[in-house]
């Protein structure tokens, strides 16, 4: 079976799902609406069932955020359910980032002695681990118990040997996620998926480099955390960028294609938030562009996964931003469109 045939069904489903996403022209309109108006609009949209279901437990903007998260989780899980063979494998591997997020939240919660209900509220079961699996893990009393409960999963190697350093196992989990997903992509021989993934790794490494360089971290500490396997930023590039001073590092980025995303704000380093938002926008535009070139491949699915996440992020940004009385220009600057 050829690649195009393999993806025909799932891509058709994804196209139909993508058509239901909120069009980007709506976001400026949301900015002019009051929170109740936006909530009503959302309550009558694709999020209707989630808002109704969670309405008994939450209210106001909390209801809004939890409904968005639940819808995101159900959408992603639906993708896992309706896909088959290679598509299913790659989607499952890609969405493991949510399993990692949930595992981190459970371990953090156990580490700080939070209640089970508190931890449960912060989980988004959008990965392979379902709500029930996560519930079982939460019931375990200690961090060590949670790690033992995950024995036999792809996450265990990153967790074993935990000696109380939470940041270390969190970083291990993220690095394991990327090495596993690269391996899975290489095993399937899906070059398009690998290309997408390597660009995502580059963007992730760039964001981290900005943060770590500005924080003045040492070269060895930086290289230890960077994720190998990027598209343009190979191991020697990462090693070179890690050893430069912050201004040198920024100048050195001119050599890479990602520079176009940040060139006009490359002197504004009082905050890195704008840089991160620009790189996120670059990732979204990139995914959307390459998915048009290869319409019957894994790329339209990945583009949809990103677009759905961006929709949830944008809606939350507008509603929470309005709730916390953030100036409109700040809200606008954070919208990825």
């Amino acid at each position: 079976m050829g690649n195009t045939v393999k993806y025909a069904y799932i891509v058709a489903r994804v196209r139909a799902m993508k058509s239901k996403l909120i069009p980007k022209e709506m976001y400026p309109k949301f900015l002019n609406m009051e929170i109740p108006e936006i909530t009503r609009f959302i309550g009558e949209s694709e999020y209707k069932n989630d808002v109704e279901e969670l309405g008994k437990k939450y209210s106001g903007t909390d209801l809004f955020e939890h409904a968005l998260n639940q819808n995101l989780a159900l959408t992603y899980r639906k993708l896992i359910e309706v896909s088959q063979n290679e598509a299913n494998l790659l989607i499952t591997e890609y969405l493991r980032s949510w399993d990692i997020w949930n595992i981190k939240t459970i371990i953090r919660g156990k580490f700080s002695g939070a209640k089970e209900e508190e931890i449960l509220e912060d989980l988004v079961s959008a990965g392979q681990l379902g709500y029930r699996d996560l519930l079982e893990i939460i019931k375990v009393g200690t961090v060590e118990g949670v790690i033992a409960a995950l024995e036999g999963t792809p996450y265990y190697p990153a967790l074993e040997g935990f000696k109380g350093n939470l940041a270390e196992i969190e970083n291990n989990l993220d690095r394991t996620y990327y090495s596993n997903i690269i391996k899975a992509a290489e095993d399937t021989g899906n070059k398009l998926f690998l290309k997408f993934l390597r660009t995502e790794i580059d963007l992730k490494n760039l964001k981290m480099l900005f943060r770590m360089k500005r924080a003045g971290m040492e070269r060895d500490e930086i290289t230890k955390l960077l994720i190998p396997g990027g598209m343009e930023l190979k191991a020697n590039d990462l090693a070179r960028l890690s050893s430069l001073t912050f201004p040198e590092f920024v100048r050195a980025l001119e050599e890479y294609s990602y520079w176009e995303a940040i060139a006009d704000i490359s002197n504004e380093f009082t905050s890195l938030i704008n840089i991160e938002t620009r790189l996120d926008k670059y990732g979204l535009v990139y995914a959307s562009r390459i998915s048009y070139y290869y319409p019957l491949s894994v790329l339209p699915i990945l583009d949809y996964i990103l677009s759905k996440k961006i929709e949830v992020d944008n809606l939350r940004m507008i509603v929470r931003g309005k709730e916390t009385t953030l100036p409109e220009e700040i809200i606008k600057a954070h919208l990825v469109m």
Partner: protein, 206 residues
């Protein structure tokens, strides 16, 4: 007057009173100097207190905005989850220092503003929105600790100035005038007794 009723008009009492007056006057002079010194200290600290209060308010606005951005862009769920990772609480050591006899606190804080890699959460899975919210709140806590030290010092200085002022006034308007009055009374009585004695001797001779 009550003071005159309780005073024995004797020479020894007069000597005792003169000693007390001298002591009160030198005490009054010293306390006045202390009061003036404390007022000068207070003015210096007042400027610092005003500055730090303004800085705390400014930093609070910055931190609130950074947290609002983190909550809006990343979600409350992410902010709460990341907050679970922070187990370390700032360590405060309370020492004291002496400003013109007034014991004021000196607060030594550690583990407040931490480096990026010491925040407790992993760097790969988080964003600069979280970093900036954490950083700005850590800076706010540092400023609050400094403000607490300065404002407590100011409060203690004010209390001591008030106490010293009351003592100076009591010495100046009550203790010293009463002692002086008592001394004058004894001098008068002793002179009177002297005159009575002279008169009595003259009458015996006559």
């Amino acid at each position: 007057m009550a003071i005159k009723d309780n005073i024995k008009p004797t020479r020894s009492e007069l000597i005792e009173l003169k000693k007390k007056i001298k002591l009160s006057q030198s005490g009054h002079k010293l306390l006045k100097m202390k009061r003036d010194g404390l007022i000068l200290e207070l003015f210096a600290i007042l400027e610092k207190a005003k500055d730090i209060r303004a800085e705390v308010e400014k930093q609070f606005a910055v931190a609130s905005q950074k947290l609002a951005i983190a909550k809006s862009a990343e979600g409350v769920v992410v902010v709460k989850s990341t907050a679970f990772a922070l187990k370390d609480t700032p360590k405060l050591e309370l020492e004291s220092k002496n400003v013109m006899g007034v014991v004021v606190p000196k607060i030594q804080a550690s583990s407040v503003h931490k480096k990026l890699e010491e925040h407790g959460y992993g760097i790969i899975g988080t964003s600069s929105r979280i970093d900036e919210a954490v950083d700005s709140y850590e800076i706010l806590v540092e400023k609050i600790i400094l403000a607490a030290e300065i404002e407590t010092t100011m409060k203690k200085l004010l209390e001591d100035i008030e106490k010293t002022k009351r003592r100076v006034n009591a010495l100046e308007f009550k203790v010293i005038p009463e002692l002086t009055e008592a001394k004058d009374f004894i001098v008068l009585r002793l002179e009177e007794m002297e005159r009575e004695n002279t008169f009595r001797l003259k009458r015996i001779k006559g």
